[in-house]
């Protein structure tokens, strides 16, 4: 591996910056990982929940007798059994909720899937069987499901006067701001309706709880930081005297969902304290999709005023998000407004922001929870550019804050010292020839293919610490063992982040030992110290800083000890490859193991006052916030027949500071981008009017597969941050910048058909895009659609010269025609009527008859559209060549592709 020069005087690096193989992989690749469901304890029993079947109502009675009587069932608990623990549900910031919330529902239910009772049985299957025997009587009330319901409906929580969970900003627009907005050369308004998303980590939630005597509790739980869980549970249960140990060695993804325990985990913990035997609960996917917390459902309107040249003048944002019934903290997502114009020269901004309670699953975090700010701003900018008549690149060039504009403070008070979105964009455009693409796009359009280019820029606050209670520094404890091998205990935690790898890279470099000789331990609250773990793109920045400073302290100690033992001065000592060298005296080299053995075993030989052993710890406190900047671009093709989007290219130009391991950094960005693509094109968690979740399986909730995700190209644009080591966080960015990049590309592709519908409602399904292409609302199932719709003549497609017919052309009359569908050939009789160049006619088949109009005749070529309603809404595009008494051609059948058509004149 090549040594590279690190920023900030970190010196030569052998491992930092390299695609080092991950420490985590050998166990994960051989099936030896340890996820929560892999834990089995002697005497362990299994749990399942009975859940509310209604979204809102009062509980009249819960009958658990049949469940209790089932063989193999040990206990059935309701809130009445757990109430005496007084367990307090808490937010991520360890604050109690403002509305009453208990682990199991007590006298009312407020969302479908809310846990009502917990069954303890010999097996998960038996526990589920018994849970299904629990009968609940409700007095059902009309639920409040949508944001509109929440604004107008009755308050869902007793003791509140409305459904507003959290609110900030002004309802009244300031006069000056209003005057600027209304008096500007251009006022552009963008509205986004963001669908509800399920975080959907591949490992569902789960916990194993074991009461060890009266004063100890051990939890294995899938989470984002075992330290955070221990702190949360101890405060929630008020059990400071109980030693709580939390173990989470491997976690199958989290993305914000597993920040802290929720009702089910707390119920299992309480049941384990009550029952006295170890209990396990593993959520199944049905529960994960329908009863877990969810995220992202929000509406936002952003207005932005521009002068005649496209410079930003002022803006106003109005945001509302659905908190569900029991959010993990009431949330109005203030970060949306803090960062919406953070990277831009925006003189004035005001906002109104609200979170509403509804009878739906609670809101929890998801990768870049404030991401709608980038989606709405970047899509607004593209629309503004089209309106003003400038290029999407140009509108950003005119408004982005460049390095020359810093230091400065945004209109929302965000200090900007080293953000580089403008520089990232220029580097991206150096890599991507936009002018060449525009030519290609024009040529493609002439062939009826619709390519689009999307661009987005953003900044992201990462590695924040010191301003919010649980957002602390990170701790590194490093020791050189008496053997000379290095072990480190970190407060970081990996749910796939590979922190055991990246931290080992840093430690190996800073100590001068081989990467193979460093082992990093994390995932156990009994080791190391507090950190919230993976939250807010922080571990590389802060954990990395902790690893650097602790390793440097330890290296200094080794040098002091070695200098004393070898009778040299500390400045002449270097450590390299696990060996301690004295400059100019190679014969005096000693292995680290030899020095370590003395440091532990022969304290008398150490310098006076020197603590024995080679162990150091350091908690690194970074700058309050470290910004990551990026520009992304993608190229798509939208199929005008099917509405399907194919992503042809995706380029990321990201300033993430010092890169510890490019494979890990690219992995984080790629994973976020895949989630972004899912949000724009596929994923959706809808509810019906009664508050029933409608996506209960992975057949309903569509996650992106390998075939949906393109290859990502990475353009380096790194500048070191001011944090120790120069890192910037990358955990969330892909999920933030991905959506606007893709939406802008789709909008660009469809320009020949007009703007995307307002509001911009995700996901952009093929039906929605086809509606733009065909100029009618294909999603309006309930509206009785006319059987015959005049087909728009395919004017955008230049007609290729029709082949000269060999024989006479006579289209008029009846034809026997066969359509070769994927389901087999279908016969029909088609009768054409010709009037000049206009064609109309009628289809007759065993399934029924249908008329069509609006077709065209050019020489011997006949083209027409047949819009059918059954078995589904689809437009069949016929393109036929007539030759004497025969015809041939094809029929494009929407997403089903083309089918061959042949026919003969009916005699």
């Amino acid at each position: 591996m090549n040594a590279q020069q690190l920023p900030q005087g970190l010196g030569a690096a052998r491992y930092i910056g390299q695609r080092v193989l991950r420490k985590e992989d050998p166990r994960l690749l051989t099936g030896r990982g340890q996820f929560v469901d892999d834990i089995s304890l002697p005497g362990m029993l299994h749990c399942a929940f009975a859940r509310s079947a209604i979204a809102r109502g009062n509980i009249l009675n819960i009958d658990t007798s049949a469940a209790r009587d089932m063989p193999g069932v040990h206990a059935v608990y309701t809130q009445a059994d757990l109430a005496h623990f007084n367990a307090q549900m808490l937010s991520f910031f360890l604050l109690p909720p403002e509305v009453e919330m208990t682990p199991l529902a007590s006298d009312r239910v407020c969302y479908v899937g809310e846990p009502l009772a917990l069954v303890v049985a010999d097996s998960r299957a038996l526990a589920e069987d018994a849970a299904s025997l629990i009968e609940v009587e409700y007095a059902e009330l009309d639920p409040v499901v949508t944001l509109a319901d929440a604004r107008n409906g009755p308050p869902i929580h007793p003791g509140t006067s409305d459904n507003i969970a959290a609110e900030m900003g002004d309802e009244e627009l300031d006069d000056d701001l209003a005057a600027t907005l209304n008096g500007a050369a251009h006022l552009v308004t963008q509205k986004v309706v963001h669908q509800r998303i399920s975080q959907a980590p591949m490992e569902t939630r789960g916990v194993v709880a074991s009461r060890d005597g009266n004063e100890e509790l051990t939890l294995w739980i899938t989470c984002q930081s075992p330290h955070m869980i221990a702190r949360w549970v101890s405060q929630s249960l008020g059990l400071p005297q109980t030693a709580i140990r939390v173990i989470a060695k491997d976690v199958g993804g989290s993305f914000g969902l597993k920040n802290h325990p929720w009702k089910e985990e707390v119920s299992v913990i309480l049941a384990a304290l009550l029952f006295g035997r170890p209990l396990k609960w593993i959520e199944d996917r049905y529960e994960a999709l329908t009863a877990s917390n969810q995220c992202r459902e929000a509406e936002m309107t952003l207005q932005a005023a521009f002068d005649a040249e496209g410079h930003l003048l002022a803006s106003h944002g109005d945001y509302a998000c659905n908190n569900g019934a029991n959010p993990q903290g009431p949330d109005n997502n203030i970060a949306v407004h803090m960062f919406v114009w953070g990277a831009y020269k925006m003189p004035a901004y005001a906002f109104l922001t609200r979170g509403y309670y509804t009878n739906t699953n609670g809101l929890a975090a998801y990768r870049g929870p404030w991401a709608i700010e980038s989606l709405i701003r970047e899509t607004l900018l593209d629309r503004a550019a089209r309106k003003i008549g400038i290029d999407p690149v140009e509108i950003r060039r005119r408004n982005l804050v460049t390095l020359k504009d810093q230091p400065s403070v945004s209109s929302m008070g965000i200090p900007r010292e080293d953000i580089t979105p403008a520089e990232c964009m220029e580097k991206l455009l150096h890599h991507f020839d936009l002018a060449a693409f525009r030519k290609e796009q024009a040529a493609a359009r002439a062939e009826g293919r619709y390519l689009g280019f999307g661009l987005a820029t953003y900044i992201e606050p990462t590695g924040s610490a010191g301003s919010m209670p649980v957002m602390t520094g990170e701790l590194a404890q490093i020791r050189i063992e008496p053997t000379g091998k290095v072990t480190a205990t970190m407060s970081t935690h990996s749910q796939g982040h590979g922190t055991a790898t990246t931290m080992a890279q840093i430690i190996a470099d800073r100590l001068g030992v081989a990467y193979e000789d460093v082992t990093v331990f994390e995932g156990d609250s009994a080791r190391g110290g507090f950190s919230p773990g993976a939250a807010g793109s922080r571990q590389g920045v802060i954990g990395g800083g902790a690893a650097i400073s602790a390793a440097d302290l330890l290296a200094a100690k080794v040098k002091t000890v070695a200098a004393h033992l070898l009778n040299a001065s500390a400045e002449t000592i270097t450590i390299d490859g696990g060996t301690v060298h004295v400059t100019g005296a190679p014969e005096m080299s000693r292995s680290l193991g030899e020095i370590a053995a003395i440091a532990y075993g022969e304290p008398d030989r150490l310098p006076p006052g020197c603590e024995s052993g080679l162990e150091v710890q350091h908690r690194y406190q970074p700058p309050p916030m470290t910004f990551t900047s990026a520009a992304h671009a993608c190229v798509v093709e939208v199929d005008a027949d099917t509405g399907f989007v194919k992503i042809l290219r995706w380029i990321s130009s990201e300033d993430c500071g010092t890169v510890i391991n490019p494979a890990v950094v690219e992995g984080q960005i790629s994973g976020g981008l895949a989630q972004a693509i899912g949000m724009v094109l596929l994923e959706e968690m809808p509810f019906d009017a009664r508050g029933n979740p409608l996506s209960a399986t992975f057949k309903d909730y569509l996650l992106p597969a390998i075939s949906d995700i393109p290859e990502f190209e990475f353009v380096p644009a790194n500048t070191p941050s001011q944090a120790l080591g120069g890192m910037r966080g990358v955990g969330e960015g892909g999920a933030i910048i991905g959506p606007p990049t893709l939406v802008n590309a789709i909008a660009d592709a469809l320009i020949p058909f007009g703007e995307l519908p307002e509001p911009l409602a995700l996901p952009l399904t093929p039906t929605k895009l086809l509606s733009v292409i065909e100029g009618r609302d294909l999603a309006a199932h309930s509206a009785p659609a006319p059987v015959v719709v005049a087909a728009a003549a395919p004017a955008t497609e230049p007609a290729p010269a029709a082949a000269a017919p060999a024989g006479e052309v006579r289209v008029d009359g009846a034809w026997d025609m066969v359509l070769k569908t994927p389901m087999g050939p279908q016969g029909m009789v088609v009768t054409f009527a010709v009037d000049g160049n206009a064609i109309s006619g009628r289809f007759d088949s065993p399934e029924g008859s249908q008329d069509f109009i609006g077709g065209t005749l050019e020489v011997n070529r006949v083209r027409f559209d047949l819009k059918v309603e059954k078995p589904m809404k689809i437009t069949l595009k016929y393109d036929l060549q007539f030759d004497g008494d025969s015809l041939s051609g094809k029929c494009k059948m929407g997403m089903f592709g083309s089918a061959k058509v042949s026919g003969t004149r009916k005699v």
């Binding site: 992989d25 591949m202 993804g253 890990v664 994973g671 990502f712």
Partner: protein, 158 residues
């Protein structure tokens, strides 16, 4: 609930057990035989995490009953590497290409790739990509998985 005797070979070792008729092969492998490298991501046949090799073919063990595997030879992720710890070529390539993050989807992907590249007939790249579209990975964005599959196809000369 009816109980049934089953005999099967898992990773080269014989197993005899009595199982309930409704027990899935995935649950049996994890909970009874102890092969927790079999991961259950959805238990309804979509995510692919539970994939194991049964008599040479990749199978979703959440959709197969343990009783149906009576008399079969089953391989799980634990059974891929050599006895001396040398990784199977599929494992090695996945490691080198950073094709995993949390590792939850990984065993299923390994088993599909191993089944398609391990037999007499080696799958080409298109076949591998098609098969991988039946595996959901929420972490990686599939970049390393795609690179790994390409290399496996190239190594098999397809």
């Amino acid at each position: 609930m009816s109980e049934h005797r089953v005999n099967l070979t898992i990773n080269g070792r014989g197993h005899a057990a009595t199982v309930e008729a409704r027990m899935s092969l995935g649950d049996y492998l994890r909970d009874e035989a102890g092969y927790t490298g079999v991961h259950l991501g959805c238990e309804h046949g979509v995510c692919g995490a539970c994939t194991v090799i049964v008599d040479g073919r990749a199978v979703r063990s959440c959709l197969m009953l343990a009783v149906q595997a009576d008399g079969s030879e089953v391989t799980t992720a634990e059974g891929l590497a050599d006895g001396d710890g040398t990784l199977h070529p599929v494992q090695q390539v996945m490691r080198e290409e950073h094709a995993l993050q949390c590792g939850f989807c990984t065993p299923g992907i390994l088993m599909t790739l191993a089944a398609l590249t391990g037999g007499q007939e080696k799958a080409d790249e298109a076949t591998l990509m098609n098969s991988l579209s039946g595996h959901i990975c929420r972490c990686t964005g599939y970049q390393g998985i795609r690179r790994a599959a390409r290399r496996l196809a190239a190594d098999s000369g397809q």
